[in-house]
Symmetry: C3
Subunit: 332 residues, 3 copies
């Protein structure tokens, strides 16, 4: 039984095979219904539009029955800790919830965002890992505190579509946003890019470094693939010689759960950390990427996101195809 | 590519063809699955029970896969204005939302009620029109600020079932309700009735006139069809010689967004503007119609809505059939 | 037309036939799609994860189309009383809601919990019975104020799996819980166990008696089946000679709607009314049962629910099979 929690659990060869399969699906060369008669649970601890739509359709197009469960208003009412007296506000233990679901469905997808409250706990992805640990069927990650692997794989597929066998030089740049956001998307993008052997530069202001352990793992993948991996805190020079720009905002783990302190660090960055035409002009006619939703004229200017170099809609479309490819594989 | 936003965009011949097709579907003479393998998004900015159920079933019975998306708690978090710095509470632009959905689905249904805040903006149906403008697939209206065309078409089908080739004399009468309501239903009913060539009388108290531009359009359709179009503010004489009574409450656009002023205008109308047996007796044994949900003994008495002349359940049933007919046509 | 509102409406022979059919379904000996082309409404006045998932999948596996409707945020906005002026906060009468749904779907499932406000009203199951009264298609109960018959039937099936033709001695024991809970589960379990002819003991502290009329009906079934039916308020001796322990908390109908008074009665019961290993040791190597969700180390200790004698996950799985069996029968 294979889960799909992070790309880290898969080899470069396997990731490449997923992309090849997704390209075939996108071209329509796939007529089987590998999920015929099977139900798949999609458990949302958090709201979702794009992931919800694309996963439902992916499962439907593979012949299966998507079953959406929203913990919604009772969000986080599932207890994940062991040996606990449940006399508080948690009404069910993940142990029962997951074991029961395992009797009903062939796989379980889970979205459980970071709550941005306690970094030491959240960096271990406790909810996702508890679910995967108890499940008797494959579990796949629809975005957890630390990872968003389907998004990263859709991004890798979109880069492959654009660059083919060429090894692109990719910039992951922090961007300003009115609120601190989770780190799952930048984590997974950087990880997958290094696993694929792309040259990777990460740009962020002081105080916004990503998880040290993850950066060490990425360094190891870069070494293995003979690719480069570098950092900068210069929001302009970051774009020099770049083939692909991936913009994303995230919070500071120095002030995790401390919104006011973080706001003080963030506020002066507003005008400097936006992707605009003059920065893009420093690159190698780069494509512009973002996972969406995106705040126009805050993260990126209209002129960049509306330009022919913007491939954000392709990334979103590829979510559907890569999800079909990966589900077909782990559920076969 | 054809949208279905208002009946105004279709000729009388086309509207009649939708009704004929819906009657065939109701009689079971339709075995094709024109939506087989296709997904259709149903985007709800507002709650819904009847529309949600009937559209899901319509799509299922046509062979397709309904995908429900609720902006729900994050209602109106989609920005529709151009050239805007998105540093407020809107997290995604409709431009991205709709272009992404267009890659996933074969059509997009949208419910976006009036917010009853700014009449000059809302009368232009800005959200619906922004969605239709960016979409690369057909968009259909599940009730916008100004129109509810599926409801109107179900109403027209129900009138055709009752009156056949006879041209009924139809009364649209304002009714009391504890709160101001949107005008989409009366707008679309009056518009469709005039397009179909029915004789139309609209009764409402002072201050509750419908949109001037729409009334002019209705007048033009009446002229084209040689049918009558008249107004009255007499809640009793309004019923004289009438074949069909359509009751509906709506708010005053004089006090749009000003609930307290509107309440002062509305309050004294309570006892006068209810459909009851004595009013119905002035008509030509008229049928009683309402789009539902309806407040019993406020909008209409139990004795009228429970009488054999009440066709409100038929109207609701016909939503299913007319929606199938129209979707099959615009998605063929 | 047959509803499925409570097991009381079915004979022992019929209940046994449902279980036999469910066992065949569980073993995979069932290839028909009795709901092909049919839509079934699932109306939730209250949240649900397990019932929602298992019913959706049951309907899908029978070939049908589940249509979920949540009155949700507008919970209880349906009026059920006759002859009422609807000028309050209820926006639609159940009469219209149900008659319209009857035109769209082949059956209607309803979840409408007790609101724990007025015992004299709620013991009559007014919402469920109003829906069943107006419906023109079969209605089935997904848990009402007084009954949860699918849960009880899944429990009976699980007991049959364990004990075969043996007549088990079953204990239904009250358990501590931080809040007063509805009585639908204990009511339906006790009722079904007596209908099946099992020996039944009910243990609860003073003030927590179940409905008098229901207990009289159970007494009559016990007499008819020559089985025993007894009560105790001793939380330990209750376990003597028992084959199966069913734990469940419920509120006191003496203090119905009076949470503070009830809390005073409940608080001192905390340490005494938990299912633990020493109590279980008094029984006849009994199985442990619970409908889930369960609060670990409040209702039952980890050591009991994690032991091989715990059959709580089997009960939950059997929900799927028994629901398929019963739906296939009442919708045939």
């Amino acid at each position: 039984m294979q889960h799909f929690l992070t790309t880290k659990d898969y080899s470069k060869t396997q990731l490449q095979a997923f992309i090849d399969s997704a390209v075939r699906l996108k071209n329509g060369n796939f007529y089987e219904k590998p999920l015929a008669g099977k139900s798949v649970a999609l458990v949302f601890f958090n709201p979702s539009l794009r992931t919800r739509a694309s996963m439902q359709i992916a499962i439907y197009e593979l012949g299966g029955n998507p079953v959406i469960l929203e913990t919604g208003s009772t969000s986080w009412s599932l207890e994940y800790r062991e040996n606990i007296v449940m006399d508080g506000n948690k009404t069910e233990h993940i142990k029962e919830f997951v074991r029961v679901l395992s009797r009903y469905v062939s796989a379980i997808g889970v979205r459980c965002f970071a709550t941005l409250e306690n970094w030491e706990i959240e960096k271990t992805d406790p909810v996702l890992n508890a679910i995967a640990g108890y499940a008797e069927v494959p579990v796949f990650n629809l975005e957890s505190a630390m990872h968003h692997p389907f998004q990263a794989m859709a991004d890798m597929m979109t880069l492959k579509e654009r660059f083919g066998e060429k090894r692109p030089k990719v910039l992951l740049t922090w961007a300003f946003h009115p609120k601190p956001l989770p780190m799952a998307v930048p984590n997974s993008f950087a990880l997958a890019a290094s696993q694929m052997g792309f040259d990777l530069r990460i740009a962020h202001p002081g105080g916004y470094q990503l998880d040290k352990q993850l950066m060490d793992e990425i360094q190891a993948f870069a070494k293995e693939n003979n690719s480069t991996f570098e950092f900068t805190d210069d929001p302009d020079a970051a774009f020099d010689d770049i083939d692909a720009v991936y913009a994303k905002s995230w919070g500071s783990n120095l002030y995790y759960g401390n919104y006011e302190e973080e706001a003080r660090l963030r506020k002066p960055l507003k005008d400097k950390w936006i992707v605009n035409e003059s920065k893009m002009a420093r690159g190698n006619d780069p494509v512009f990427m973002h996972c969406l939703p995106v705040r126009r004229n805050v993260v990126v200017t209209d002129s960049v996101i509306d330009s022919p170099n913007s491939i954000v809609i392709d990334e979103a479309e590829n979510r559907l195809h890569i999800q079909k490819a990966i589900l077909a594989e782990i559920l076969k």
